[in-house]
């Protein structure tokens, strides 16, 4: 959806575009522990860049280096072409929205937002109009005089956002900004964030461990693990074309099937155990005969049926082990003759009572040759 809204926004594909932030071989060590491992990445103006990964993957360290609270052990970070290592946090054109919000408890909402502007020496009408503008942007006008403990979690989150945007930074860092909100509020706020990002034209770098959040808001996602970026791509590419088993497994639900590759013309056959015929897949990578391969396929790309479907290269018979009814969707766990369990997911377009498949039924699962991704290793 994000792609459709911004069809032409892809500065990372434009060789003439100058990146706003450049990480050049950045390494950060804490004693023996390597938090960031030789990382090189460009982030462009107006991007909404998401750092996604499990806790301890180095995403927060990366952000703290941008804010100035940590310095790289090796390598350089450039902001608009300028090395930021010698610049202290209070002199950087970068603002951060803290995970804990870090609102000043002794100051009112208004004073919190005005804090950064006052440090710049802005006062009088200029100060008032900028703070009021921020209050309007985040719909907090009614709460200007309240203290942080007198407003709700969602409102506090908006105060933190308003405060970090007030100085119109080149770059806004958001550290798990929605972590403290409940699911419904989080979803609403995600769209609000995107809206504000587009209105202000600020570059956002967001740290999150919530893949759905990253998928929703980001123009590009960097999936991180153990201090390295495993894949940096648009949400759609991350989901549809993961480059490793790790990425495929981290984002969304997936079936990972291990097998041996048998190249045959434009297709690759995958032998995946006794009692099942080979999977037919397509790939642009080249595989040796008998090379180990992982075939990743999303549950919603696998269909389940009672009758054997025609015209499909991949159809396998199995037994329904489990059915999970999720309301709009149902997930079937189908056991293959080789013991592998394949998850399939289908929309419940008919009423539940009309469902033809139940526990222990023998069913056919099927998918097209292009539905899955072949991954090396």
């Amino acid at each position: 959806m994000t792609e459709a809204l911004r069809p032409v926004f892809a500065p990372w594909n434009d060789p003439d575009e100058k990146p706003l932030i450049q990480f050049k071989n950045v390494t950060k060590r804490f004693g023996d522990f390597t938090a960031i491992d030789d990382l090189t990445i460009d982030i462009f103006e107006r991007e909404f860049f998401a750092l996604l990964g499990p806790s301890g993957c180095g995403k927060t360290t990366l952000m703290r280096m941008l804010a100035g609270f940590a310095t790289p052990t090796e390598g350089t970070i450039l902001l608009s072409g300028q090395d930021i290592a010698p610049i202290p946090p209070n002199k950087r054109a970068v603002n951060m929205m803290f995970q804990s919000y870090a609102l000043f408890p002794h100051l009112s909402v208004w004073e919190n937002i005005a804090f950064g502007l006052k440090r710049e020496g802005i006062k009088g009408d200029a100060l008032n109009s900028r703070v009021d503008e921020m209050l309007r942007l985040t719909r907090l006008e009614r709460f200007a005089r309240r203290k942080p403990h007198q407003i709700s979690g969602g409102q506090r989150q908006r105060v933190a956002l308003a405060r970090s945007l007030a100085k119109a930074p080149k770059l806004l860092l958001l550290d798990e900004p929605l972590g403290a909100l409940d699911k419904k509020l989080r979803q609403d706020t995600q769209f609000e964030l995107m809206d504000i990002q587009e209105k202000t034209g600020t570059t956002f770098v967001i740290v999150t461990h919530d893949q759905e959040e990253a998928m929703t808001v980001a123009s590009r996602i960097a999936v991180m693990d153990e201090g390295r970026m495993i894949q940096v791509d648009t949400p759609a590419r991350i989901y549809e074309a993961p480059n490793t088993v790790y990425v495929a497994d981290f984002i969304g639900d997936v079936n990972i099937i291990e097998g041996r590759a048998i190249p045959s013309g434009e297709h690759v056959q995958i032998a995946w155990g006794e009692g099942v015929s080979d999977i037919t897949g397509t790939t642009d990578k080249s595989f040796d005969n008998g090379e180990k391969v992982h075939f990743a396929i999303r549950p919603e790309k696998v269909s389940v049926s009672v009758e054997k479907p025609d015209d499909t290269p991949n159809a396998f018979q199995g037994k329904v082990l489990d059915i999970a009814y999720l309301g709009n969707l149902s997930t079937y766990h189908v056991e293959m003759p080789n013991g592998q369990i394949i998850k399939t997911q289908s929309a419940n377009t008919r009423r539940l009572s009309r469902r033809a498949i139940t526990w222990d039924d023998t069913v056919w699962i099927s998918f097209t040759a292009t539905a899955g991704v072949l991954l090396k290793g």
């Binding site: 804010a67 100035g68 609270f69 202290p88 946090p89 209070n90 002199k91 970068v94 603002n95 951060m96 803290f98 995970q99 804990s100 919000y101 870090a102 609102l103 000043f104 408890p105 002794h106 804090f115 950064g116 440090r119 710049e120 203290k147 942080p148 403990h149 709700s152 979690g153 969602g154 506090r156 989150q157 405060r163 970090s164 100085k167 403290a180 909100l181």
Partner: protein
């Protein structure tokens, strides 16, 4: 209240009697109209009136208050700085030594502190007077301030200071505009504690005072050696009142405000 058995009641009564009976007797006898301390001759406040006309006592009181205000203010500044550095600087070489050295005066015998200060003042040729008592009191009360302030700083959200830096304040502005207002209750109760400690110190003051400056405790102590007078009782009663008010307000301020501030801070930080 259901735990108030006869045993508990008795031990509580005996305990409090042990602690406060002497003081109660002193307070009662300060309102005795007789010149003889141990003979009750009726209620009177005349010794308080006498006290107000006693120049020597008034001078000593004035010195005591000057010393207490100055030394507790210096102790608060130094103690807060020490606490800030020890809590914030993280692990550095000699950190344990430094924190140990700040807390050591808490357990150091006062006679030794007093004697060493006396030797120092003589050594550097500093005339003993108000200034030397102020210095001495600052030295021993700053560790109390530092204990109170550092326990508050230990629970202070580091991200609040980082947020201030991130929004463009210098490290000093971040301290002045964010950290200090939030830890103010602890700093104030540290000040009150230092004030009270200075007010009733006898040992260190007698080592470091000179003929030009006598504090009330010294005055009382030397007066009592010539015999207890009802005037001393009256004076002691006033001092008990001041110290009690100081200690109670210190603990009230620190408890109430710290609880409220921490609550506000946590609520602001989490949802």
């Amino acid at each position: 209240m259901r735990r108030l058995t006869w045993f508990n009641t008795t031990s509580l009564t005996l305990g409090f009697a042990f602690l406060y009976l002497p003081m109660v007797i002193l307070v009662i006898y300060s309102f005795n109209s007789s010149k003889l301390v141990t003979v009750w001759a009726g209620f009177s406040t005349k010794w308080y009136g006498e006290l107000m006309r006693n120049e020597a006592f008034l001078d000593a009181a004035w010195v005591t208050i000057k010393v207490a205000v100055l030394s507790s203010t210096f102790a608060t500044v130094l103690g807060t700085l020490a606490a800030y550095v020890l809590v914030r600087a993280g692990r550095f070489w000699g950190r344990t030594l430094f924190s140990g050295m700040i807390y050591a005066p808490l357990v150091m015998p006062e006679v030794i502190t007093g004697l060493s200060l006396l030797l120092l003042f003589i050594g550097i040729g500093l005339d003993r007077g108000v200034m030397t008592i102020v210095l001495a009191h600052t030295t021993f009360s700053m560790c109390y301030v530092s204990v109170v302030v550092s326990s508050r700083l230990a629970t202070f959200e580091m991200s609040l200071e980082e947020a201030a830096l991130d929004l463009g304040s210098t490290p000093f502005e971040a301290f002045r505009l964010v950290t200090l207002p939030i830890i103010a209750p602890a700093v104030i109760s540290g000040w009150l504690l230092a004030f009270t400690l200075s007010l009733d110190d006898l040992v260190i003051a007698s080592f470091t005072s000179g003929p030009s400056a006598t504090t009330l405790p010294i005055k009382i102590f030397s007066a009592v050696r010539l015999g207890v007078s009802p005037e001393i009782n009256a004076l002691s009663t006033i001092m008990i009142a001041i110290v009690t008010i100081g200690v109670i307000s210190a603990s009230l301020i620190s408890k109430r405000a710290a609880v409220r501030q921490r609550l506000e801070e946590q609520q602001a930080v989490r949802s």
